[in-house]
């Protein structure tokens, strides 16, 4: 069996940090210490060695949207971004509301072999918001996270029933908070910028109203809930208060909501259109504070590939969504004023816990632990070139932007899936 050595890195995990070599064999970490040997050596000089990143929120598009991304290309992007596990969103065609779709996604991911793909399931059949999807059947197929992401569950009675029924199944319901009636035709954040640009606005209230409703439903039912891609200062405040009350809730924020604002839409470039929309600097700052104080648990990419021809349509017609897997770490390190270990907690071990995979992702780097690891240079500055991304799509909002922190190697199940800055084949 090949013994792979990650040599000379600064090892950081939830237990602390130390300078050490890490030896990996048979999918496991077998030794951590100084002066180790190995058959195959990965240089980690000047780099951090950390548990692989875990994304709670990626659209891999397969089945149904293969012109924008496939499970193979999406997991290549994940490997390039330092991820070893991603939760695949269920808004595929067909939607992941049956065991057959979930099994298909899992099988394709195993065939691609670049990271673990955790299929999520729909809360409602076809994401149509009328009937509950078969939670127990999907849970038996390995689904842990359930969401109608792309839209929120509008019907408060149905959402209450979902939470009541989910209790005891050891699953997590995740909400995309958006009251549809308040966002009909909406293109960008409702505020000064949309007023000036003559573009229909997406008010912060539409997110906060549903979040408030669901927090009260959690209070009523006691069932845990996760909140996807929170984007407003008001949402941070609501979750902070809910956690202070002891409610069993978790929340995520995207790299783009931590770094970009609605002013970018003045270019009328569809690559800046996303749902929920880019908001104001005050929201960005509140989200950063929320992440730093633990109100927000995780950074999740909401990686949402779209083909160039769809993104070139007029702003009101172009679909919302941005690539995220390959830039998340670089954006986080460039924009967050937090200790490195705290950033990694939000990108790795906290989301691993929410996704229920902390037995194999995000755990301490010690002998016996799963060899799902990322090696990155935390100080390397690099410019995002869309043509060089591993994703099939090019809709990054960071074209030409300088980020800080670049992945050098990613190991999934002990094998390099990304090595010396290139996707391993």
């Amino acid at each position: 069996m090949t013994r792979t050595l990650i040599r000379g890195g600064r090892v950081i995990d939830a237990t602390g940090e130390r300078m050490a070599d890490v030896a990996v064999e048979g999918g496991r970490v077998v030794d951590v210490g100084a002066g180790l040997g190995g058959d195959e050596v990965l240089d980690a000089g000047g780099c951090v060695v950390a548990p692989g990143l875990v994304d709670l929120h990626a659209h891999l598009r397969e089945p149904g949207g293969e012109q924008a991304e496939t499970i193979a290309s999406g997991t290549a992007a994940a490997a390039a971004g330092g991820y070893t596990a991603v939760v695949a969103m269920p808004n595929t065609e067909p939607a992941a509301d049956s065991r057959s779709v979930v099994d298909f996604v899992t099988a394709r991911a195993i065939a691609a072999g670049r990271c673990e793909v955790l299929p999520s399931g729909c809360i409602t059949v076809g994401r149509r918001g009328h009937e509950l999807a078969p939670f127990a059947e999907l849970a038996a197929a390995g689904v842990r996270l359930f969401t109608d992401d792309g839209s929120g569950v509008q019907d408060p009675l149905l959402m209450r029933r979902a939470l009541e029924y989910a209790a005891g199944l050891d699953i997590v319901l995740a909400q995309h908070c958006q009251v549809d009636r308040l966002t009909e035709g909406a293109v960008m954040h409702e505020g000064e910028c949309c007023s000036r640009l003559g573009v229909p606005g997406w008010p912060a209230l539409a997110e906060e109203l549903m979040l408030h409703r669901d927090l009260e439903l959690v209070r009523l039912t006691g069932t845990p809930m996760h909140f996807l891609h929170l984007s407003t200062a008001g949402s941070v405040e609501l979750v902070r208060a809910a956690k202070a009350d002891g409610l069993p809730v978790t929340a995520e924020v995207t790299p783009h909501h931590l770094s970009l604002t609605d002013e970018l839409l003045a270019s009328f470039d569809g690559n800046y259109k996303v749902n929920p929309p880019l908001r104001t600097m005050a929201d960005v700052e509140a989200l950063r504070v929320g992440l730093a104080d633990g109100t927000i648990d995780a950074i999740a990419t909401d990686h949402a590939p779209h083909s160039p021809e769809t993104k070139e349509q007029p702003l009101d017609v172009a679909p919302p969504g941005m690539l995220g897997l390959e830039t998340a770490l670089g954006v986080a390190l460039a924009h967050l004023d937090m200790p490195l270990a705290r950033v990694l907690a939000a990108l790795s071990w906290k989301p691993a816990t929410i996704a229920g995979v902390s037995d194999r992702h995000g755990g301490p780097i010690e002998p016996g632990g799963a060899a799902n690891l990322v090696v990155f240079d935390p100080d390397e500055r690099w410019e995002v070139a869309p043509a060089r991304l591993a994703s099939l799509s090019r809709n990054t909002p960071y074209r030409g932007v300088k980020l800080r922190g670049r992945v050098r190697h990613t190991l999934f199940d002990g094998r390099p899936t990304f090595r010396d800055g290139a996707v391993a084949t």
């Binding site: 409702e190 505020g191 000064e192 949309c194 007023s195 000036r196 640009l197 003559g198 573009v199 229909p200 606005g201 008010p203 270019s267 009328f268 021809e309 070139e312 349509q313 007029p314 702003l315 009101d316 017609v317």
Partner: protein, 305 residues
């Protein structure tokens, strides 16, 4: 100036230059043979993704009076829906050799997108709710001429009344008058105002009508009723329409303007022909001269004469 996309991309000197050029074009239009060779050999393509016969005819006339060649491409909504993208259309027509595109589109921002796909000049002839800079220029020119305000609009009081939120005309008119020094107030219920207004606002026309120098009425679109933006047109007229009673309260010399087409009986219940301050007809006439000035500024060579 490479393109004319929005008033807020111009500086005041650009605005004054275009208005002064318009004076020359008005003079050209008064000649027995209203035609000059300034755009000879140049081709202007009108790309109308939304029907607007008035604006299209105005640009076509302006181009011909400058001896330019005109191509007109009217794309019905249905053929766009059949799949040809804005980019394909712009690139295809650009390949035929055009010097300028005049673009009307239902989506805010479409002319900005077009700029990425052609090296030709782009003139925004109205995009979504966003901007309509030639309308604003012709309105500013009309006021400048009617009131003899060639130096600017310092102290001039302009009220824009009606559906400001959904109006590209209101955005551009408000910007150009403010840039020239006027005090602008937007008059509408909050449902018809942008959430963050660029100018002062009021929901009481009666409180201000006696103090304005220019009353600018917007078209009230009937489909707004179904969106619960106002209860009904009758109530709208009661609160915001130019009725005979309100017309009588206008100060001497106050101008009444409207970008057309008018909804008689809604935003205006008096016959504009009987309003001493109505300059609505002059707006249309000045439209051709303003568009000649814009085309000349972007594409012209040699003197205006």
């Amino acid at each position: 100036m490479k393109h004319l996309l929005a008033i807020d991309e111009l500086d005041v000197a650009d605005i004054h230059r275009l208005l002064e050029l318009t004076d020359h074009m008005v003079e050209v239009n008064q000649r027995p043979n209203p035609k000059v060779p300034a755009l000879r050999g140049r081709t202007v393509c009108n790309l109308f993704f939304e029907v607007s016969t008035r604006t299209r005819l105005s640009f076509e006339t302006a181009t011909r009076r400058l001896s330019g060649d005109v191509m007109t491409f009217t794309v019905s909504e249905s053929s766009v829906n059949k799949g040809e993208s804005l980019r394909d259309t712009v690139e295809t027509v650009a390949a035929m050799g055009v010097d300028a595109f005049v673009i009307r589109h239902r989506s805010s921002g479409a002319p900005w997108q077009a700029c990425r796909w052609t090296t030709a000049a782009v003139i925004n002839a109205g995009d979504g709710w966003h901007a309509h800079p030639t309308q604003a220029l012709l309105d500013a020119y009309t006021v400048r001429t009617e009131l003899g305000r060639t130096g600017g609009f310092d102290g001039l009081r302009l009220a824009i009344v009606g559906d400001v939120k959904h109006s590209r005309v209101a955005r551009s008119v408000g910007q150009i008058f403010a840039a020239l020094g006027a005090d602008v107030v937007l008059v509408a219920p909050a449902t018809l105002l942008p959430v963050v207004a660029e100018h002062a606002t009021s929901d009481r026309l009666d409180d201000i009508i006696g103090d304005v120098d220019v009353l600018y009425l917007l078209r009230m679109q009937r489909e707004r009723m179904s969106e619960a933006l106002v209860p009904n047109l009758h109530e709208y007229t009661e609160r915001f329409g130019l009725t005979a009673e309100r017309a009588a309260r206008l100060s001497d010399g106050a101008l009444v303007m409207h970008p057309g087409p008018m909804n008689r009986g809604v935003e205006i219940t008096v016959d504009p022909a009987e309003l001493p301050g109505s300059v609505i007809g002059h707006q249309v006439a000045n439209g051709v001269a303003v568009r000649m000035a814009v085309l000349f500024d972007l594409l012209g060579s040699g003197g205006v004469a």
